[in-house]
Symmetry: C2
């Protein structure tokens, strides 16, 4: 982000051009969801590293990661509504649009699994955390198997 949102506001107010990057194109929508999934991956990867003892477990940091993951799980899916965002620089498979109900159901499962992980991570029961983390991983895999190119 090279400019501030207020600088953007002022610049646009003076020029009258449409706000850039506001899902005005399929490319914007693709970039938006890729940014959201990159943040999701970052949080998941850090929790994974702690779960697998690749880095020291920090329960507070883990709980914060889990909370952020559950917030970010809400973000990417509206972008799939944007016409044309099935084409171009995307690894989203046509099956998303061909079986939209199934895709939305899997997105919902991912959201629920991350909410549960955030809850148990705050409570701190190691066994429950392990189980909830595994469940999140399964929802990732379940959706990627059907709806994302490798």
């Amino acid at each position: 982000m090279k400019r501030t949102c207020i600088a953007l506001t002022l610049a646009l107010a003076s020029t009258g051009v449409a706000a850039e990057g506001a899902f005005n194109s399929a490319e914007d929508a693709i970039e938006y969801r890729q940014a959201a999934f990159s943040l999701i991956k970052e949080n998941f990867s850090d929790m994974w590293a702690m779960m697998k003892e690749k880095k020291p477990m920090d329960e507070k940091a883990f709980a914060q990661r889990a909370q952020h993951l559950s917030l970010l799980a809400q973000i990417p899916f509206t972008s799939f509504d944007i016409a044309g965002s099935d084409k171009g620089d995307t690894s989203a498979l046509p099956a998303i649009w061909q079986q939209r109900d199934a895709f939305d159901a899997k997105a919902g499962q991912f959201q629920m699994a991350t909410e549960r992980l955030a809850l148990v991570a705050k409570e701190g029961d190691a066994k429950a955390i392990k189980q909830a983390f595994g469940a999140v991983g399964k929802t990732c895999k379940g959706c990627h198997d059907d709806f994302k190119a490798e």
Copy 2:
């Protein structure tokens, strides 16, 4: 995101290398917050376009943007804790680390303003929405003036 999170998990499980992109470096932290702010900007820009009648007002879409903005407002700030993330490809000013309490206070104001906007956007009172949207813009500006290079 080129690989699925489960593919990442399996790849890492087999190789034993540390999870990539998990704030293992200052560069990761910078990329993380830049991705988060790009999503924030996208939502703000789209609401701005509706508020300024650059595109038709869609109350449902606006409310969803506002909700997503309030979730995303929680995301970037932990990245500023990462040592070395004040250097490199960042427009974050040294003042963030020199006056961290003031920075955190402004981040908190931004988060509160976006929460309020999400609330009033759901309620649908145009005057309250305009006021709450303006307040969000002020918190952007207030923080960027002091803490972000143009």
